[in-house]
């Protein structure tokens, strides 16, 4: 059945599937993992960095991008599609600021991106964007926000979420470990993001990239050294927890 209804984006299958949209979601799974956490006073985005080729400029391979001073986004999926969406979103952020003299809310720019993606699921001769995005930031009211969009054009607010390869494993880890205590403290929220990524990242801390936004502060990208320090602290805590466990069983 799929073979007759999966070539054109504008055709529903008899059982109501839009196969091209579903296939676009498979393309998202080919991208490396990205995780977003909404803390009490902080929002965190962590991504698994792809190892770059020897002659490639690492600076130009980015999964976390700022859309405005107070909003940033991580994506998973087709790199070129992400570039187009990010450019459109950045233009929209500035256009909004010039028109209404206020910066965009996180929800507004998420809705803009989601509407753009939905348009591409309903047009002739086009295909859907093969990316999912995690959009984080603080609004003027000081409340932290985390939204997720997918190729179909849907968007939802989340407390914590993951996209890309092994997203399900990371999401299950977050469901078990996301507690009010875990996110009350900024440092704990950062550690939770790194721990979630370490569940699936293949080579440890050196393949992780992290960005945070604190209330009334601009985006901060963590350096490799800072991430390494956090990973060391997490490994130490793990060892101590295991020692305690083995003492209890003895």
């Amino acid at each position: 059945m799929a073979s007759r209804y999966d070539r054109a984006i504008t055709v529903f299958s008899p059982d109501g599937h839009l196969f091209q949209v579903e296939y676009a979601q498979e393309a998202v799974k080919k991208g490396s993992t990205a995780v977003g956490i909404r803390g009490t006073n902080i929002v965190v985005l962590g991504v698994e960095k792809k190892s770059v080729a020897k002659l490639q400029d690492e600076r130009t391979v980015r999964k976390i991008c700022a859309l405005d001073d107070h909003v940033c986004m991580a994506f998973a999926g087709l790199t070129a599609d992400a570039r187009v969406v990010i450019n459109r979103a950045r233009v929209e952020c500035q256009s909004h600021k010039l028109t209404v003299e206020d910066p965009v809310t996180v929800e507004y720019i998420t809705r803009f991106i989601a509407t753009l993606k939905q348009k591409y699921t309903q047009s002739n001769g086009r295909r859907p964007f093969g990316i999912s995005a995690l959009i984080v930031g603080f609004d003027d009211d000081g409340i932290p926000r985390l939204y997720q969009t997918d190729p179909s054009g849907t968007y939802h607010a989340w407390k914590a979420n993951a996209i890309g390869r092994s997203a399900k494993t990371v999401r299950e880890f977050l469901e078990k470990n996301y507690t009010e205590d875990a996110i009350a403290n900024d440092n704990e929220a950062i550690k939770l993001a790194i721990r979630a990524l370490l569940e699936v990242v293949q080579s440890g801390g050196k393949n992780i990239e992290l960005a945070i936004i604190r209330r009334n502060q601009p985006l901060k990208m963590f350096s490799a050294k800072e991430i390494e320090l956090q990973v060391t602290a997490i490994e130490k805590e793990k060892e101590e927890a295991e020692k305690k466990k083995s003492k209890k069983t003895v």
Partner: protein, 288 residues
């Protein structure tokens, strides 16, 4: 043939009369040139089983020449890497031979000088127990070559005390289920076994209407026909290239009887697995 608006290619009816009569005439007469082309193609696609030292062909099948009580076959990159890390690094294995073959999936047209990475299935036996055999098959064995491969490896009368285990992986989009694809927890293992295998597999059996394809299916069918105890462990994954998470999904099979005594140091093997993945990582800029 005609292309529709949606990009499908469909057979269009011909108003110039039926084509069937012309096709039948062509099929009836086969020229000597056609026969020669067929012969050359058959020679090109022949599966050859070669001895390790001399690189000469084996006169009899592999399992007729060497007695075998346990035969573990890994088909595909992830299964091969898993066996390399967990089984081959836990003991001393000696290469006894290889199966060399060429088909359209090979990246070279030079059938005489094929590299091991391209078109080899390599066979090893355990030095301390030479009746334990292992096969690592990273190349694609085409449908017409599978029978030859089975004949050259198992022979026409395989011994019934040989226990066969096959490990392979497949993309999760091939898995048919009434559950929604988003709810499947990838990667996951499924098993299929022959009637003569009494031991239960270490994961759920493959549900209908799913089927197994290619060389693993041919091996399992052969074992079922010849009443050999055999089990196939199939890992459904969403990442078809070499992937640590997929390879680790095979770990439950280490507890089965087929692998008893073959796996020694699991933490060290996991480290070796990680190194294999980083060494083989191919850069693709399409997905980030």
């Amino acid at each position: 043939m005609a292309a529709t608006f949606f990009g499908e290619v469909v057979k269009a009816p011909c108003r110039a009369g039926t084509e069937d009569e012309e096709e039948e005439d062509e099929e009836r007469t086969e020229t000597p040139e056609d026969r020669e082309v067929r012969r050359q193609l058959a020679r090109k696609r022949e599966v050859r089983l070669l001895r390790r030292q001399t690189k000469t062909s084996l006169e009899v099948s592999l399992l007729e020449k060497y007695p075998c009580s346990k035969f573990i076959i890994a088909v595909g990159n992830n299964a091969v890497a898993f066996l390399s890390s967990f089984v081959m690094n836990s003991g001393a294995w000696e290469e006894v031979g290889c199966a060399k073959l060429w088909n359209e999936w090979c990246r070279t047209t030079d059938t005489a000088h094929l590299s091991p990475a391209e078109a080899f299935c390599v066979f090893y036996h355990l030095k301390s127990n030479p009746s334990v055999f292992l096969c690592q098959c990273s190349c694609y064995v085409a449908e017409d070559q599978q029978y030859q491969w089975l004949e050259k490896v198992f022979g026409s009368c395989p011994k019934k005390n040989t226990q066969v285990t096959v490990l392979t992986s497949r993309h999760v989009t091939d898995y048919r289920t009434s559950e929604s694809p988003g709810s499947l927890r990838c990667p996951f293992l499924r098993a299929l076994k022959t009637q003569t295998l009494k031991e239960p597999p270490c994961c759920p059996l493959l549900e209908q209407p799913n089927i197994v394809h290619d060389l693993p299916a041919a091996v399992l069918s052969h074992c079922q026909v010849w009443k050999l105890p055999a089990v196939l462990y199939l890992c459904y994954t969403d990442v078809m290239k070499l992937d640590l998470v997929t390879m680790e999904a095979f770990k439950p099979v280490l507890s089965s009887r087929s692998f008893k005594g073959l796996v020694k140091n699991i933490p060290q093997s996991t480290e070796i697995l990680k190194k294999l993945v980083t060494a083989e990582e191919i850069q693709s800029n399409i997905y980030t």
